[in-house]
């Protein structure tokens, strides 16, 4: 089927995006991005391909090859990836029903519920993470409830990290899903029902399809910030459950190994971009035609 999007006539609505106006509007954001993102990124990029020996700087691939040929680092890479994917999936599975509730609810508690959903954002990451430590630690809340022989060792596990991340990132997921769902006209659901669609088919064929842009943006956000999360994995995972963000920190700030640190940072960035691209491609097939009318 031909992609029809290009066939629409040029819009003549006011757009504020012509020449000088556009330049002026973009200038502040571009300036900040250039100074604090592009320039440092170039510096880090150059660092990742150089070493210093005998006071001179040489080009090398060894920062990357050393990292990528070490099983220890691979384990950390895969763990970071696994934790981020699981966090994204869990956030989606927990967030979707909540977003659905917000979409359908007519209750006056709806706003209270929305506030509760986003409330984790009002508490600092460190405080929230310590909260999880209180709950998960060997003498914590969960184990206090379990009988003597069934105590769990939850701290310093991948599960603990996923729990901590998911808790912080679910609001982003719910807000993304909500933004997309509120655009779905409820009469579409009534129309589907009158055509004979069961509640499941209404959800599958109409509501979910039309919420895919929200699923996509929510997943991309949660995945990207999970990949780069630092304090939660460090506090809940401990030294035995390191993630890439910690490695970057360790190389740069603890070992002052700027070149290796730069290479790891770029590996992290590349992995994130590749997965984000894959998520986008997967979702795009379903969202091609769901641009709002």
């Amino acid at each position: 089927m031909a992609e029809p999007r290009g066939s629409s006539a040029a819009s003549n609505l006011p757009q504020f995006t012509s020449g000088r106006t556009a330049a002026l509007m973009l200038a502040p954001a571009l300036l900040i991005a250039a100074l604090f993102f592009v320039v440092p990124m170039i510096a880090v990029f150059v660092n990742s391909f150089t070493v210093e020996s005998g006071g001179a700087t040489h080009f090398t691939l060894s920062n990357y090859t050393d990292f990528l040929s070490d099983d220890f680092y691979w384990e950390i890479m895969l763990r970071t990836l696994r934790i981020s994917l699981i966090t994204t999936l869990v956030a989606l599975m927990v967030g979707y029903p909540a977003a659905l509730y917000l979409y359908f609810s007519q209750s006056r508690w709806r706003r209270v519920f929305l506030f509760l959903v986003v409330s984790p954002l009002f508490v600092s990451v460190i405080v929230r993470t310590y909260g999880w430590i209180v709950i998960l630690s060997p003498n914590g809340a969960i184990n206090a409830l379990l009988p003597e022989d069934y105590k769990l060792s939850l701290m310093h596990t991948d599960t603990a990290i996923v729990l901590g991340l998911m808790h912080i990132y679910i609001p982003f997921m719910v807000l993304s899903l909500n933004a997309s769902l509120v655009k779905v006209d409820k009469r579409l659901l009534a129309a589907a029902a009158s055509l004979g669609a069961s509640n499941w088919r209404i959800f599958r064929d109409v509501l979910f399809k039309l919420s895919l842009p929200g699923v996509l943006s929510g997943s991309v956000i949660v995945f990207a910030i999970s990949m780069t999360a630092f304090s939660t994995p460090v506090l809940l995972g401990g030294s035995s459950r390191k993630t890439l963000a910690y490695l970057v920190y360790q190389q740069n700030l603890l070992l002052a190994n700027w070149h290796a640190g730069a290479a790891i940072a770029f590996v992290l960035l590349a992995m994130t971009l590749i997965i984000v691209k894959l998520i986008t491609l997967a979702a795009e097939r379903g969202t091609k035609h769901t641009v709002p009318q």
Binding site: D205, V206, T290
Partner: protein, 353 residues
């Protein structure tokens, strides 16, 4: 003949708002039925009851003799066309039309054939691959109609489907709807607040006001014999004369006596005689049994029809006549306004509305 669709004392309230007072209505198979009334009178609510989207607080809905009051919309097999069409934006026109058939697990080839038939019926051949946002309002509406017809609905329900269209397209689509309805023979309920639309399309019209049924009848019946003050005021233009029945067949307005027919029903101290502008005749000399003297205030030519406002002892009256007939009249002329004794509708003044 037994009714095809019956609403039997159906009630709906939203919290404290009583949207429908016990409403009883029936429709024959194959009828093109209009629900007409001002904004907020309960038209959409009534349609929602028939489609199953709205739950009745009391009463029953019977379809072909079967009680469907509690049946979910999925099982009712009713084609609904919403005011904004509610087309699925992520499906092409053909996919929209075919969706109901796909749910019924028809074979792909079957669906394709039927979809093409329907697109031809609504004159959208070759546009099946378009997405709703690539279509004009009129085209989207026709897709919505085709989608509703695809499931061979037991009823076609249309909620103000023409209100988003401009005047010309609106008339075109109204005729199109009539044609489609005649071709398919599907029993249709058409909701509108535009009386011209209702009169132009309907076999019968039900007039709602504040969640109550005011009158049901053919367009002619409703225009010629409004049964309530509300209907008389709501439909068309009228001259309302307030007076009393001083004797049987004698209507008295401010001391002047006019011959009138006996009221259909009711007993009241004061009455209102509704006279349509086209029932009034403007002449130089007294011509009819009933006539009053007056002075022409204004003459306006509106195409084929001339509107005349005449100031008389019993108030200002509006009269129409064809631009070609009668003696020419100008503002300031002294004239006689007359009407036949049987003309107009006599209604008790204390009736609601």
């Amino acid at each position: 003949m037994n009714a095809y669709l019956e609403l039997d004392r159906v009630e709906v309230s939203y919290g404290a708002v009583q949207a429908l007072h016990p409403l009883t209505l029936s429709m024959q198979a194959g009828e093109f039925f209009c629900l007409l009334g001002p904004s907020g009178c309960g038209k959409t609510t009534t349609l929602g009851i028939v489609a199953g989207f709205t739950r009745a607080g009391g009463g029953r809905v019977l379809l072909g003799g079967q009680d469907v009051t509690m049946m979910p919309p999925q099982q009712r097999q009713m084609g609904v066309v919403f005011q904004n069409y509610a087309l699925f934006p992520h499906m092409t026109a053909a996919q929209n039309v075919g969706y109901g058939l796909k749910l019924r697990k028809r074979e792909a080839a079957d669906i394709e054939r039927r979809v093409n038939e329907l697109l031809a019926l609504v004159r959208l051949e070759g546009k099946g691959d378009r997405y709703p946002r690539q279509m004009s309002g009129g085209e989207q509406q026709r897709v919505a109609i085709a989608r509703a017809l695809a499931i061979e609905p037991r009823l076609l329900l249309l909620d103000e489907p023409l209100s988003n269209l401009d005047a010309r397209l609106r008339e075109e689509m109204r005729n199109e709807l009539k044609r489609i309805q005649r071709t398919t023979g599907v029993t249709t309920i058409f909701v509108t607040h535009d009386q011209e639309e209702a009169f132009g399309a309907a076999d019968r019209i039900a007039i709602l006001n504040h969640g109550r049924l005011e009158q049901v009848g053919t367009p002619t019946e409703i225009y010629q014999s409004p049964r309530s003050m509300f209907v008389a005021n709501f439909i068309g233009r009228s001259n309302a004369l307030n007076g009393t029945l001083s004797a049987p067949g004698v209507f008295e307005v401010q001391g002047q006596r006019f011959a009138c027919s006996r009221p259909a029903a009711g007993s009241s101290r004061s009455w209102v005689l509704f006279l349509r502008p086209e029932e009034l005749k403007i002449t130089r000399n007294p011509a009819s049994t009933n006539s009053v003297r007056g002075t022409v205030v204004e003459v306006i030519y509106i195409g084929a029809i001339v509107n005349m406002r005449v100031k008389t002892d019993i108030g200002e009256l509006l009269a129409y006549r064809l631009g070609t007939g009668g003696e020419p009249v100008a503002a300031g002329d002294a004239v006689q306004v007359g009407w036949e004794p049987g003309a107009g509708s006599l209604l008790p003044a204390d009736a609601h509305g």
